[in-house]
Symmetry: C2
Subunit: 182 residues, 2 copies
Amino acid sequence: MSLSHSILGFLAYGRMTGYDLSKAFGSSVRFFWHAQASHIYLELKKLEQKQFVTCEQVLQTEKPNKKLYEITEAGRREFLRWLASEGEGFGKGTKDAFLLRIFFSGNHPPEVCIGMLTAFAADCRRQLDEMGAVPASIRSYGGMVDERHSIYWGLTADFGNRYMQMCVDWAESAVRRLEELR
Amino acid sequence: MSLSHSILGFLAYGRMTGYDLSKAFGSSVRFFWHAQASHIYLELKKLEQKQFVTCEQVLQTEKPNKKLYEITEAGRREFLRWLASEGEGFGKGTKDAFLLRIFFSGNHPPEVCIGMLTAFAADCRRQLDEMGAVPASIRSYGGMVDERHSIYWGLTADFGNRYMQMCVDWAESAVRRLEELR
DNA sequence: CGGGCCATGTAACGGGTTACATGATTAC
DNA sequence: GTAATCATGTAACCCGTTACATGGCCCG
């Protein structure tokens, strides 16, 4: 259960609403943890029940009312516990339906697979471009919290870049190999 | 729902038992789709209900009895449909708790993160070694089915290698960066 | 005589997704 | 007038995990 822990992680930076959290996920960890808004609201409720967060209603006249969530001491402890926990080693949680399709692609003519791979490469390149904006966004957020945090944001962004680049390279070499064999 | 489809995929190669399937997952797609034996048995039952597979009891005296599963025409159609389906684009399904921990690592002293990263790199290197055996295993299986299939097995294995290598490189560069900043 | 392989399952639970529902304000 | 942004939620469902249960054969 990592969604609840990453919510706690964001709340450790400061008070936020469910909506803020939803945006925070979208603008930072979306490459390795996609979170649905509705799920976040659900999880916030559970965290409140467990007393890991407290909630304060904020009435607004110009905008819809909102709920500001704040992490408690117990919540911070739980978050830190998770942060240091060993966590399933590696590759155990990996689920990649795309690679599964490639694996079984002997069942259709090679052109289909070539098409899938080129579309995939294009997709990766697009995401690589999108991530070009990440360093700037880190710098802008980085000013708000201290640098201690933003280093790590940079590390995960770097992972994202390398990953996408690797995917592009792999897909292109795969296409080449398939074309050789036609 | 990709487990059921990959089961169909394996059965498209030939008749197998739940046990065989479990081994097949373990020796091929485990790097990007880990399947529990118990889950496979569950899924086989559902596939039988949907008439995507048929089941034949095989009585054995020397060994426990077993059930041989065979894909039906409807099953093959469903499998092919899935194989050609667009499938969620990319990165949407990605869930990586390890990167999540790195992202939030500003909350503990850098040494902890350095420790996590070195352990991670060691883990990846180990898996890289393990995958050295894959080409041989592909060749051995490859003889049984025609080459049409084994090319694709090689492509996914190549992905695994590149991925692990990228992880090692990234983790090492991350450690270097963290050590600079101490 | 212990461990590993063969071989199959059940029950409870957890975590996440999808689809749906609502509604005000602001900017083009 | 219509799209985007702000803002919160419910209900049903699905997929997968964990833990448990069973039991014979073969090899060292």
